[in-house]
Symmetry: C2
Subunit: 190 residues, 2 copies
């Protein structure tokens, strides 16, 4: 039940790439991303290599090079990316659809643990296989605008446009039902 750092950085990178591109900045440099999000550069490079090999990003090298998304954000599902980097989503292999392995229990059909874990698996994949990069980018942008905050990797020194390009807003407000966040939860309305 854990996302590796590698996986976490990969998703962060994709999301940032998505946000930047949506704001008219289709290409980001690894170093840029690393400093802003405080990730180790060399590690991030490795991750990009992996993402590139899988067709999620493309790159340009040399001066003013960088990485950009290689396909439409609406076709990048989180589940698929996580599977690529961290392996199967299921808590135990005997409930994995994509990478099933029989377990050691004598009777799989009547295994209570399996029933429970199948539900857990389904709950996880229901979210991760449904939401795409487009969804998350959209929601994040909405939040950022609502609170009048500029995403950090856009505070570039040179050539930063003073006015943000008009944003697409395909969904009505409240389209996706993310639980509102609130720090560590606990009490909410005082």
């Amino acid at each position: 039940m854990k996302l590796s750092k590698r996986g976490e950085y990969a998703l962060r990178a994709l999301i940032d790439l998505g946000i930047a591109s949506e704001l008219g900045w289709p290409m980001l440099q690894a170093s840029e991303l690393a400093t802003k999000e405080k990730l180790p550069i060399k590690f991030l490079e490795q991750i990009f290599t992996q993402l590139k090999a899988a067709g999620y990003v493309k790159s340009r090298r040399g001066k003013f090079g960088g990485y950009s998304l290689a396909r439409p954000m609406s076709q990048i599902k989180f589940g698929t990316v996580i599977r690529l980097i961290d392996g199967p989503l299921a808590p135990i292999r005997c409930v994995s659809q994509m990478a099933y392995v029989r377990c050691s229990c004598p009777d799989e059909v009547h295994c209570g643990l399996r029933m429970l874990m199948l539900d857990v698996r389904n709950a996880i994949t229901k979210l991760l296989d449904r939401y795409t990069l487009a969804d998350i980018v959209e929601i994040t942008l909405r939040k950022l605008r609502r609170d009048k905050v500029t995403p950090p990797f856009l505070s570039r020194s040179t050539k930063l446009r003073s006015v943000l390009p008009p944003m697409v807003n395909r969904l009505g407000d409240g389209g996706l039902k993310f639980n509102s966040v609130g720090p560590t939860s606990g009490r909410r309305r005082k």
Copy 2:
């Protein structure tokens, strides 16, 4: 997104202990459980030690010793057990309620990844913190009876009662809504 073997065996042990006890067999031996479920004995012993220290099981040693549940099954939640053995349920610590740790991202409130992972965490805990051992044991027993199967660890050589004791059946059929299982999915009705 993964349950360790240690965690898996712990849950298996508890479930079997629950089933056995519900059938009038309050105590099981580690060796017995290990052979029937095909788990390494010594490893299982270690796990029992841990479960005992946390108050889930109690033990009796010497000849005819064994392990039994130390508290009512309805008070044993899966989430708690897994947290004990495998640590936090949340995919990343910054969305963990029980073991929150701030992550490296510059702005937690506007972090898209965090929003998504919070949903995943909630989906997981919603299941694991709701279902108790009592629930799973009940469902499993129902399934076993429906299909007229005897749980393997009850096929003990000596002193096995010929007639199973009357079972409690506190819930109407279909009370808990587990997805019906079906082998590896794929095609179903040929």
